[in-house]
């Protein structure tokens, strides 16, 4: 507020060159004007669809048929749907396993990149490629590598003497899950590595040097210095990654389409299959909304944890 007073004061003594348009001078009305486009777009395409989604999920709407209010019937049906139970388990398993590996590998890669070596900037730029390139397109390269008949991975394992018959990567339920987990880890490691590297670079090397002089071993320095100082960044990166992975669609859609026999469906792909594939909008909306409470809990839990870590 001090700014306004100072500005107005001076304005009275020396004549302003031009008449100032009042709404642009008042802080409140200027803020309102500046926020208007953002609030309009977010209201129209986030808040309104959210309300529409809730209304859809308690109706019997299909494509072209508005449907009527049916209460919580759709959710009750989901509770007894064996595929949905599988979807919940798959999504949690997929999110948990990939996050652990992405964090471990990402941290390792970040620590490798935190040293000085030739072509460092070059390496760092190349490492981000899996994150930059459209996921659908790069996932196709993986699907081609996992092809049942022409898999280059099978060829490689065969030549190395590890296998004698072809591995049917995407045809077996467990291997299909393993395959999408590998692709997700591949896509996520660069994001973890680069974000954690930025965190590592804010840690003063003096701390590590001082500890080394005091006789701390590398792993002791990691546990007592690097890890605690990196924790706030780590938590935020994990938060983003968990949300993205939990709501993942593209990798599963391209690799398996949810198959074989619904073994790899996640919330988003199952919602797509019900809502867009078979046209039962209400059930589709119910499945994707079922993500919301879980996502909400994850966000609340992690934000509280981040706050605790930061104020410590």
């Amino acid at each position: 507020m001090a700014v306004t007073v100072a500005g107005a004061d001076v304005g009275m003594h020396q004549k302003p060159p031009r008449q100032k348009w009042r709404p642009l001078e008042n802080e409140r009305s200027l803020a309102f004007l500046l926020l208007l486009p953002t609030l309009t777009l977010l209201g129209l395409f986030i808040a309104y669809p959210f309300v529409r989604g809730i209304l859809l999920s308690v109706s019997s709407a299909r494509v072209g048929i508005p449907g009527e209010f049916v209460g919580l019937q759709n959710f009750q049906r989901l509770m007894t749907d064996p595929i949905f139970a599988h979807v919940v388990w798959n999504t949690c398993f997929y999110t948990a396993v990939t996050t652990v590996f992405k964090l471990a590998l990402g941290l390792w890669l970040a620590m490798l990149l935190n040293r000085h070596f030739r072509f460092k900037a070059f390496t760092r730029a190349f490492i981000l490629l899996p994150f930059i390139i459209p996921t659908v397109l790069s996932t196709f390269a993986w699907k081609w590598m996992f092809d049942p008949t022409f898999s280059v991975l099978n060829w490689l394992f065969y030549k190395l003497g590890l296998i004698s018959s072809a591995i049917n990567w995407l045809g077996d339920p467990d291997l299909a899950m393993l395959s999408i987990i590998i692709v997700n880890i591949w896509r996520g490691v660069p994001f973890f590595a680069i974000s954690l590297l930025a965190g590592l670079q804010t840690i003063s090397p003096d701390l590590n040097e001082a500890a080394a002089i005091d006789g701390a071993k590398p792993w002791q320095r990691f546990i007592h210095i690097t890890w605690p100082l990196l924790l706030p960044v780590t938590m935020v990166v994990v938060l983003f990654s968990v949300i993205q992975t939990f709501a993942d669609f593209q990798i599963v859609y391209v690799m398996t389409g949810g198959g074989p026999a619904n073994a790899t469906h996640l919330f988003a792909t199952y919602a797509y299959q019900l809502g867009v594939g078979t046209g039962i909008l209400s059930m589709g909306a119910a499945v994707s909304l079922a993500m919301f409470p879980i996502l909400f809990l994850i966000v609340i839990f992690q934000l509280l944890y981040i706050r605790r870590v930061e104020t410590r």
Binding site: R28, L41, I46, L128, W144, W155, S195, F240, Y272
Partner: protein
């Protein structure tokens, strides 16, 4: 800075780093080699003798030719470019203004609005695509580029706003005060003093938003239906697969060529991209 014996350097540094690089970059190598490999070499069973999958002595441009003559790939490229540029422009416009308001102006509910925008940042696209497809249809936007140009900003604006807030906060208050003492209006001070200082932030937000909208898939998949309206990711998925038959040559050519524009944009602004990425995380 790499200390210790040579074998330690290899075991703890060079070998792990090389393995990481192979893991992260091999799919792209595979994409490139498949693009230029003739069909006869492509579809050979993995146990065939004298089969070398990692190189070809008979490079061909047939797959790329197929892509441009038999499919609407060039149209998809133009569509994707137009949609990505337009939605990035809209998001920057909104994000810069909103970021300025939230970081430098005093008004009621500023804090809760900021939190609200951060929360929308965490809303994944897959949560809302079904009701949104209905709304798009009701607004008569279905199967037009506008269905995407208007919806992409919903996940770009929160990020742009968040990033710009960080940059605006770092500009000292005195800079703005000086301009206003010299007679600049609030609007002029913002336009000519604050925003120019934040240009690196705008570039970061812009390049990040561009890559995000180039990569978006599920909205494009659900909102667009006719082949001439599609974006590259959706076009490649829907037009190069017929039932169970995958045209792997053209598919990989499409994946490669569809990735090149975004890779070029990225290569020019690597530093900005990285600071956008890390800024988006740190806030």
């Amino acid at each position: 800075m790499i200390e210790g014996a040579i074998w330690r350097r290899w075991v703890f540094f060079y070998i792990p780093l090389t393995l990481f690089l192979i893991f992260l970059l091999f799919p792209f190598y595979w994409m490139i080699i498949t693009t230029f490999r003739p069909d006869g070499e492509l579809y050979r069973p993995w146990r065939a003798v004298n089969y070398n999958p990692f190189w070809t002595w008979h490079p061909t441009l047939l797959h790329i030719k197929y892509l441009f003559t038999e499919t609407m790939f060039s149209t998809w490229l133009v569509n994707t470019m137009f949609i990505a540029l337009a939605s990035t422009a809209i998001s920057l416009f909104c994000g810069i203004f909103a970021g300025y308001a939230l970081s430098r102006l005093n008004f009621p509910f500023a804090g809760s609005l900021g939190t609200g925008i951060f929360v929308t940042y965490l809303v994944p696209q897959t949560l809302l695509f079904i009701p949104l497809s209905e709304i798009i249809r009701n607004y008569k936007l279905g199967d037009t580029p506008w269905s995407l140009i208007l919806t992409y900003p919903t996940f770009l604006i929160p990020f742009c706003t968040w990033l710009m807030m960080g940059y605006f906060k770092a500009v000292p208050k005195e800079l703005e005060e000086c301009a206003r003492i010299d007679g600049a209006s609030r609007w002029q001070a913002m336009l000519y003093i604050i925003i120019p200082v934040a240009v690196p932030g705008i570039l970061s937000a812009g390049i990040f938003a561009f890559t995000l909208s180039w990569n978006e898939f599920i909205y494009a998949l659900v909102f667009l239906s006719s082949p001439e309206q599609k974006t590259v990711p959706v076009g490649v998925v829907s037009e190069l697969i017929r039932g169970d038959v995958f045209f792997w040559g053209p598919l990989m050519a499409g994946a490669l060529l569809g990735s090149i524009p975004v890779a070029i944009a990225y290569s020019f602004f690597v530093e900005h991209y990285v600071s956008g990425l890390t800024g988006s995380v740190k806030g």
